[in-house]
């Protein structure tokens, strides 16, 4: 009796196990077919933590806005290094999850990883943040980015009004073109108010090194800098350190006003939801991808933090004036004659580099008035 019972349960076990095996074998296939009929799957890859109160979070918020759109399914993976690992992640999203579109959000993903994957999967649409797409690259890549240097220029104007020592501090991670463009725009904005202003730069060497960022902030403050800003993944530590030491800050990536109620002047923020929506709408509608998508304040790709308490009316007026020019689209930040801080001509006299000019995305100099070397 007991033996019969055992064999019955064993048979049932075998049946269940068999069914489970069949399910796992067939599961993805039927799931994928269901998806093909229903939802459009989008993959999003982040280099850091999705909740870093900075760069990655700004992208995660845009991804969250995609999730609210009907007919879309979003799969995400965070902390994917800028190595062959990102290729594996993208392949997994395409093959396992059936992603038709992949957002690769870190600068270093572009060459060679996104380029390789785009060539291998011509039917998938790749959207990369910050890469410089050229005609030779695969046509299924969209390179998108925001002209956040416009916000940096406006922050520079506000910082110049707040500074008494006329020394500004900038804590940057790595000397890549986008970072240099921000440092330069911040400095030019400040110099538009007072040409004698200098910006002191410290490069920490990586995107997230909190102890080094705090050290850098303290060093700059000790050297007399009284407004700090930064280009690192998570500005929280820098904003908090500056507040403790009683100096002003301009934020980056997101609004950090709540961290420094006294010293937060304004800040440059991303609004990635705009390009995400433009690219996704086009892809879902089956249109050919836009290969090169850029926008600034006017297009709603970036925005300013509301002015803090310490910002004077005069500063607001000057910054709002420049902002109005940017919203009209005729404001030029980088125009000749412009020298770099080694004395060489960076932009020749009479030359105006509009925001869309790809030359600006290859920036490899610091303008005169910046103390620091690349």
């Amino acid at each position: 009796m007991s033996k019969a019972k055992f064999s019955a349960s064993r048979r049932r076990f075998m049946q269940t196990a068999g069914a489970a095996v069949a399910m796992t074998a067939l599961g993805p296939l039927s799931f994928k077919q269901a998806q093909a009929a229903g939802k459009y799957t989008i993959g999003v890859v982040y280099v850091g933590s999705r909740s870093d109160y900075g760069y990655n979070q700004s992208h995660a918020e845009a991804a969250a806005s995609l999730k609210k759109m009907p007919g879309l399914k979003v799969v995400e993976e965070e902390k994917v290094p800028e190595t062959v690992a990102v290729q594996k992640t993208m392949e997994a999203m395409i093959n396992e999850d059936g992603a038709k579109m992949v957002f690769a959000t870190s600068f270093g993903y572009f060459n060679p990883h996104v380029l390789k994957m785009a060539a291998k999967y011509p039917a998938v649409h790749f959207a990369h943040c910050g890469g410089l797409w050229t005609d030779k690259d695969p046509k299924n890549i969209s390179s998108f980015f925001g002209y956040i240097d416009e916000c940096e220029y406006l922050s520079g104007i506000v910082a110049a009004h707040a500074s008494k020592s006329k020394k500004l501090g900038f804590i940057a991670a790595k000397p890549i073109p986008q970072v240099l463009r921000n440092i330069n725009a911040f400095t030019l904005g400040a110099q538009s108010i007072d040409p004698s202003i200098t910006t002191h730069v410290i490069f920490t060497g990586d995107w997230s090194l909190p102890v080094k960022e705090a050290e850098a902030a303290n060093s700059l403050i000790d050297q007399g800098c009284d407004v700090l800003t930064c280009h690192v993944d998570g500005p929280k530590v820098i904003v908090e350190t500056a507040e403790k030491r009683g100096v002003y800050t301009c934020g980056y990536h997101a609004n950090q006003a709540s961290l420094a109620p006294k010293g937060y002047l304004t800040g440059a923020e991303w609004n990635w939801a705009t390009p995400y929506k433009i690219l996704t709408d086009a892809a879902v509608a089956g249109k050919a991808p836009v290969n090169f998508l850029r926008g600034g304040l006017k297009e709603g790709f970036v925005k300013m933090s509301p002015y803090g308490k310490a910002v004077s009316d005069k500063a607001k007026k000057m910054a709002d004036g420049a902002k109005a020019g940017m919203m009209k689209g005729d404001f030029v930040i980088f125009k000749g004659p412009l020298k770099d801080n080694a004395g060489k001509v960076a932009v020749a006299e009479g030359v105006k580099l509009g925001q869309q000019d790809p030359v600006l995305e290859q920036m490899n100099y610091l303008v005169a008035g910046v103390v620091g070397k690349i």
Binding site: S51, D52, K164, V201, S208, P210, V211, E215, D222, E240
Partner: protein, 308 residues
Amino acid sequence: MTGSGLGLWGIPLEVLAGAIRVSTPYLLVSLGECITEKSGRINLGLEGVLVMGAMAGYATSLASGSPWLGVLAAGLVGALFGLLHGLLCSMPRVNDIAIGISIMLLGIGLAFLLGKPLIQPQAPTLGAIPFGFWSDSPQIRSALQINPLFLLGVLLAFVLHYAFRYTRWGMRLRIVGDSEDAARALGYPVLPTRISATMLGGFLAGIGGAFLSLYYPGSWNEGLSSGQGIIAVALVIFARWEPLRCLWASLLFGAAGALGPALQSIGITSAYYLLNAAPYFLTLAILIATCAPNRTLQGAPGELSLVR
């Protein structure tokens, strides 16, 4: 001259201030590891304990509103991890280095997982004692803002130095660490001594983590430690298991870390990658200088799996 820069004179001040600010986690972790290694075990997992302590301290401070309660919680979590390491390594044929690495991965992974909601909120942080009240220079005042945990660490280094040499407790610990057979012959309990030494090491490492998240830089995020726990373990080896040398080595490391930003702030920026690598460079240089193939590490506890 208030509000203006110090120029070149700022560098020594910056480096001194940096040494005091940055060295505390190195100091607490290395003193903890020193106790553990004196008992004959090596706990490589202190990086994980440090990160876990930082997370637990921040969470407790946020929830309770008291940063000192956070420090205590960080220490207790650290001791718990130490207990885990101690118990696992007490089983036969278990390698303490392998367990240490798994404790490290466990601690980091768990802290990142549980720490997700802690990145954005601001927890109350620890204060500092203003030893620079006599000066009217804001730079000096700021440099001499000293956290009590640093003073505790310095005091502990001296106490341990004395205790290892002149107390019964220290002698027992050293005997257990130097020769298990001798300890057994003298009737000293080997395993309980080692387990409690590992717990004490974990406790101190946890507090080191709380210093990171609750004082300097004073915020929780995933890049917070970036390997400081591992460096501190290496530091014990070239401090040759001497608490006072741990103190000097920690200060040296703090100073080396502060040098790069300090030089860049006055515009000396050439070779900043090299300067940023100064602490690691220093580790290598000291290890090469102190190790030679024709002699073993001086002062190493005899039971340590490193030297056995």
